[in-house]
């Protein structure tokens, strides 16, 4: 019996190896301007296998 379903997510530990290209959007630039959340930012690193 399956007790746990794991949702596919980006592996953060792996992203430490080659993340940080910096091409992604500035966090509060697009809509809020009064808070910081980075969860809704899209990764723009085209050279990295995520």
């Amino acid at each position: 019996m399956e007790h746990i379903k794991t949702i596919e997510t980006r592996n953060l530990c792996e992203s430490a190896k080659n993340g940080g290209c910096g091409e992604c959007q500035t966090s509060c630039q697009s809509a809020c301007k009064t808070s910081c959340g980075i969860a809704n930012q899209e990764c723009e690193n085209k050279n990295e296998s995520k």
């Binding site: 379903k5 997510t9 910096g22 500035t26 809509a31 808070s35 910081c36 980075i38 990764c43 990295e48």
Partner: protein, 461 residues
């Protein structure tokens, strides 16, 4: 570190450091809660006792479930250790000295007189001013010169009301387009406007040149017109809504946000979101007000449970609208679980004062738009560059691990330590935290992840 919660009929477990998300049954939920502090025998016994009268849960099921939890831990998807702290400074330093985004204060003046404006009616506690093309051009050159190998450069036309200086906006965009190819850059422009001056020219221009348009609308007419009034005290809702509809209709699917503010006057902001939907808008953002402590607009402790409930109902509404084939976007519930930010971004945050700066109409640089007008935060100017290196260093060292209050927070890698301006205005330190905002943020993340789970499972169909 893990975070467990129940929402929308799901038992959800977040493994903070691996970024894993698990949806579990009730037995697994209980086992995970006990896992780190108890022995296997104690956990199995506790579960057998708890579920003794449940025919559908046998001791064998419980042992099997325990093994599945253990296996996830062994594979690094549960109870993953926090190995990021020692590399936090190194990760943030990866982009040291590179600027990729500017908030251009094209007009320190406004044709509305909103009492809740964090920018004091666009003047930022100073005098009214308009940016000249010469200053704007130099700001763009400054950005290009300091952007290193970054290709995507963001420029937000902000105010005050940017359309009060529309000619300079157009000139700056024309100039940027004339140099971007030769410089190997891609400018992405955003326009943030209250809508009063939108006309056909603005619509054509914005839809051609702006990657994103942020349109300020607080939702219901009576809520919007309470604060968003002109200098004669007249509400602006009737005048702007037709203009916003026309602009969005002509936008042809390009990015935009209807961006509202909720205050103590409307903690029941879901009604305002519903109003935006009824008007035909689908890309929505609704932000808690940022104001000085004690202002009448400030959200109170009594408002908090109302706001929390609104966030949950908003998540339900999103899934209902999916089922009806009328989906909408809520900015703070956007979460890309597979293609979201890397750990570098999650640790370093918004980049204010380092990758991102605000430029005043006269060319001064500040860490971000929310610090403009606070003299001690002036970084330098667009001709000399950053000269106040002490302040810049304060922002450069500002990562999620530099904030003691964030140490034990499960949401730290979703918010990256939060907004430095909110922290400063709330605690007097950029490395502090705005605790009220943290509570709202955590709730938003719980809801956003629940919506993402429902969508991943097809439960929104």
């Amino acid at each position: 570190m893990i975070h467990q919660y129940k929402l929308g009929g799901y038992n959800i477990v977040l493994d903070v450091c691996s970024g894993s998300i698990h949806v579990v049954d009730e037995v697994a939920f209980d086992i995970i809660a006990m896992f780190e502090e108890n022995t296997r025998e104690d956990i199995i016994k506790a579960m057998c006792d708890k579920y003794a009268d449940r025919e559908d849960i046998s001791p064998a099921d419980i042992e099997e479930c325990y093994a599945q939890v253990e296996s996830l831990k062994d594979s690094g998807k549960l109870f993953a250790p926090d190995t990021f702290e020692p590399m936090a400074d190194k990760l943030k330093a990866k982009t040291a000295g590179v600027i990729k985004a500017l908030c251009i204060h094209i007009a320190h003046t406004c044709n509305l007189n909103c009492s809740y404006c964090f920018a004091s009616q666009g003047k930022y506690h100073g005098d009214r001013a308009m940016m000249s093309f010469e200053v704007g051009k130099r700001a763009l050159d400054f950005l290009v010169e300091n952007s290193g190998s970054r290709r995507n450069l963001e420029v937000d036309f902000f105010g005050g009301e940017p359309l009060m200086n529309f000619e300079v906006v157009k000139q700056m965009v024309e100039y940027a387009r004339s140099i971007e190819k030769e410089k190997g850059k891609n400018f992405r422009f955003t326009l943030t406007t209250n809508g009063l001056l939108i006309d056909d020219d603005v619509i054509d221009f914005a839809n051609k040149e702006m990657s994103n348009v942020v349109l300020s609308l607080d939702g219901r007419k009576e809520i919007h017109d309470r604060y968003r009034v002109d200098y004669a005290g007249n509400g602006s809702w009737e005048r702007i809504v037709p203009k916003f509809r026309k602009l969005v209709e002509a936008r042809g699917g390009k990015n935009y946000y209807m961006r509202g503010t909720f205050t103590h006057a409307n903690p029941d902001f879901l009604k305002d979101i519903q109003q935006m939907l009824d008007l035909g808008f689908s890309e929505l953002s609704m932000e808690p007000v940022v104001c000085a402590p004690g202002d009448k607009e400030e959200l109170t402790q009594e408002d908090l449970p109302v706001v929390m409930e609104q966030y949950e109902k908003l998540a339900e509404l999103m899934l209902d609208r999916d089922r009806q084939g009328k989906p909408f976007t809520f900015y703070h519930y956007m979460i890309d679980l597979t293609g979201g930010p890397c750990i570098y971004k999650r640790i370093s945050g918004c980049g204010s004062g380092t990758e991102y700066m605000a430029v005043t109409p006269w060319g001064d640089l500040y860490p971000c738009h929310q610090f403009v007008g606070e003299d001690k935060f002036k970084l330098g100017d667009i001709w000399q560059g950053v000269t106040n290196t002490d302040i810049q260093q304060e922002f450069a060292s500002c990562n999620v691990y530099a904030r003691p209050d964030c140490h034990d927070c499960w949401a730290k890698l979703y918010c990256s330590g939060g907004c430095a301006a909110n922290a400063y205005h709330s605690t007097g330190k950029v490395t502090g935290v705005y605790k009220y905002g943290c509570e709202l943020f955590r709730k938003r993340m719980e809801c956003a992840i629940m919506v993402a789970i429902a969508r991943a499972f097809g439960d929104n169909k």
